[in-house]
Amino acid sequence: MQSVVVLFVMSLLVFVGVYAIGNPIDILINPQADQIDRERAIAALGLDKPLWEQYLVFLKGALTGDLGRSFVHATPALGLILTRMPATMELAIAAMLIAVVLGIPLGLWAGLKPNGVAGRTIMAGSILGFSLPTFWVGLMLIMVFSVMLGWLPSNGRGPTMLLFGLVPVSFLSWEGLSHLVLPATNLALFKLALLIRLTRAGTRESLLQDYVKFARAKGLSNARVIGVHVLRNIMIPIVTVIGLEFGSVIAFAIVTESVFAWPGMGKLLIDSINLLDRPVIVAYLLVIVTLFIVINLVVDVLYSALDPRVRLAEAKG
């Protein structure tokens, strides 16, 4: 119920916001067109109606699952976003994988040996990951690995294949994978730094807890203490952050997508904003809101798996 209200408010805000920026016809129509052509084009897109009426038309369509047609692509806005979604999802998942697979072990290491050379290097590196702007790092990656070394392609998505005969993905071929490496790394850096710091802080804190001391006193092996007692306890905040950050990775892959010309939905959003293609902008933001809602749900479910004290139907308990 709450989510429906959120979606509704969101659509209203975006609708009014985009309307306030200006009339898309001003930039869409060829300048050579005369006044009458202009009026005709405005009417063709329904932009001559008052704002509330345009919104009602949109709402009526939205209730039947039709979020309107893109002004410039002449295709349904939702369909347009869905065709671009696999590219962004693939990039986001690859970035999150890199962040998790590298971030948690590195953070653990830095937390267990905070004063060692490796621990300090990891922490110093994570500060860089935090503070360097994504677009700059992206360009540097391109300069080094594509322009100077020539190892990896500088932009674009490689050839795609259908996964499960349905979703086009590029990681199934070497060429596709090589296109994925740089943008995914670029997108992962910030999250990687975040996960390192989070894991390290959690590890250091839990090492001082009684249950860890007790476990050691019981004579459990070091691996078991760390693997079960430490890791399991620090996972809850980490899963929360991974969940939330996954949403933001998808929503804010825009910078990486434009630096690497990755044909995802973030790039679509930027292009649509430039052309004031309102149906696409509204549909995009609604999709993202829905995505956040779903991710939060998944995180809640994961909680209960990790922490036996959390139950989904808490009201009963």
Binding site: I29, P31, A33, F71, A74, S146, N155, A261, L268
Partner: protein, 533 residues
């Protein structure tokens, strides 16, 4: 939901490796088989009548034919039509080339031409229709499969120019086809130099050579247009060798491109003039104030001496040399040298700050006034920097100028409602002649006549209007040329608008590829050719 079995993945990898190897083997001897071009703007549709947008037309130029083509200098040359003439004041006759074949093998005839012209105003939801170029036609007569006549309500000398913008689609394939069918390729059947292969929204367009083309066949057999809007990313794609050529290399990298022996920089004067609009309305202009910051009752910009002073205060050669890195030519009129209606007598205003001060004093503003200059951000080459340079130059003659810029969307919305006092815009004479800027920018705003649609400063001069209206109906080329030149001369004497320069369009290529640059800014695959090294 089962994982992809490993053998299939392996097979796929082998297949790709094999195709790459094969590709190399095939391309190696000729070395001129494939061309990859990075373009700077998004292609929104393959339907050539849906949206009159530069990047869409750029692709349509490859797949579809037109009756009339434009050469690299924006001069009309025969396309599908071999010749054209007026039968009387109100009838144009076009003779069609025989044996022009669509990509599906069917022949292109007058039926297809008539169908295409009739389709233009009927494409649903078009945000930018081509109807401006077909509306003069009130009747179409198909005399025989290779002869077509267009009847107009009034004499219409620009018919060939109009026909140089209308792409011919196949009646058989495109009847009833929605825009989606063009994007998917189903209806994207033209008769142009290349055949449509694939369009991936926001990513790429792939085309392959049409070996049955009636004219000269292009050197490259396969062409991929990659859409890379981000400037450094486009540059990196060239530097890393991922693409063979890019359009609009960033100005900051020009020096590097010029000195690097691995690349060639090609540039050409564009049909686009960069100019400023004055507020010509008799009112207290919204962004002009006195030196004390209070609004001025009278709008100083309505005084031609003030406009002239502003024009004299601007050092155009300095803007061309420093702001534009030499990639512009100062201008004193609307169309560049090779375009129809260029007036050789009109030179760019000379830089004369003393003269400017004198004129300001004469007009009653010896101490100048305050002014906010508006400009678009990211629409024209170095647009924001030009506006800033102009503001500094005006300060030297006593006009204290502030600068405000905004993206083109909101900017043009405000400019078209006369919300600015002095603002910058650009105009591309896409019909290749001077009536295009004259009728849109300088004719008095008149909805019913369709004149002055982009006359945002609301300049108005009845003599100029008279000449423009006469020229638009003057079928004799020589007379029309004189009228256009004279109208330009009068409007420039008034400084109805103030031209700054013609910008250059640039292309950067690898050394082994050369491009024949074009005035109309198009990046056309068939104008690239391999260079032996």
């Amino acid at each position: 939901m089962r994982p992809v079995p490993v053998p299939r993945r392996l097979a796929a990898a082998i297949a790709i490796a094999a195709s790459v190897a094969l590709g190399v083997a095939l391309t190696a001897p000729a070395s001129a088989q494939e061309l990859k071009i990075a373009v700077a703007a998004d292609v929104t549709s393959i339907d050539p009548h849906f949206f009159n947008l530069f990047p869409n037309n750029n692709i349509a130029e490859h797949i579809f034919d037109k009756l009339v083509q434009m050469d690299a200098d924006s001069r009309m040359i025969p396309g599908v039509a071999t010749s054209w003439k007026t039968l009387d004041d109100r009838t144009w006759e076009f003779k069609l080339r025989r044996g022009v074949k669509f990509h599906d093998g069917s022949e292109l005839t007058a039926e297809d031409v008539a169908f295409s012209i009739n389709r233009v105003p009927t494409v649903p939801n078009s945000p930018g229709p081509f109807s401006a170029y077909t509306k003069a036609i009130v009747g179409i007569d198909i005399v025989d499969p290779y002869t077509i006549r267009f009847r107009t309500a009034a004499p219409h000398p620009l018919m060939p120019n109009d026909m140089s913008t209308i792409y011919i689609v196949s009646k058989k394939v495109a009847t009833g086809a929605p825009t989606e069918d063009f994007n998917s390729g189903k209806a994207a059947v033209g008769s142009g130099r290349y055949k449509f292969v694939r369009y991936v929204n926001g990513d790429r367009v792939e085309i392959v050579r049409n070996d049955a083309y009636w004219g000269e066949k292009p050197p490259f057999a396969r062409v991929t247009f990659r859409i890379i809007k981000n400037e450094p990313a486009r540059m990196a794609a060239l530097l890393s060798g991922d693409v063979d050529a890019i359009e609009q290399p960033p100005t900051a990298d020009l020096a590097r491109l010029k000195s690097d022996p691995k690349f060639t920089l090609t540039s050409k004067i564009s049909h686009r003039v960069i100019y400023f609009n004055f507020d010509h309305l008799d009112r207290s202009s919204p962004f002009v104030t006195g030196k004390d910051g209070k609004p001025l009752e009278k709008n100083p910009l309505t005084d031609v001496r003030v406009r002239r002073a502003i024009s004299k205060a601007i050092n155009r050669p300095a803007i061309a040399e420093r702001v534009m890195e030499g990639q512009a030519i100062p201008s004193g009129q609307l169309v560049s040298e090779k375009l129809f209606g260029h007036n050789p007598a009109l030179k760019a205003e000379a830089y004369d700050p003393e003269g400017a001060k004198k004129l300001l004093a004469e007009a009653g503003y010896p101490n100048g006034f305050n002014l906010t200059i508006h400009g678009p951000a990211g629409r024209y080459v170095n647009d924001e920097k030009i506006v800033q340079a102009v503001a500094q130059m005006l300060a030297r003659v006593g006009i204290t100028a502030k600068v405000e810029t905004a993206p083109m969307g909101p900017y043009s919305g405000r400019a078209s409602k006369q919300e600015f006092s002095f603002h910058m815009v650009g105009w591309g004479a896409s019909t290749g002649e001077a009536s295009s800027p004259l009728r849109s920018l300088l004719a008095t705003f008149n909805r019913d006549k369709g004149l002055g649609a982009v006359n945002w400063g609301r300049y108005s001069n009845t003599r100029v209007d008279y000449l423009i209206e006469q020229a638009l109906q003057q079928v004799n080329d020589e007379n029309r040329m004189i009228m256009l030149q004279r109208a330009t001369e009068l409007a420039m004497a008034d400084l109805g608008i103030m031209p700054i320069h013609f910008q250059f369009t640039m292309w950067a290529t690898k050394k082994n590829v050369a491009y024949t640059p074009r005035t109309d800014e198009y990046t056309l695959a068939f104008q690239f050719r391999p260079v032996r090294q």
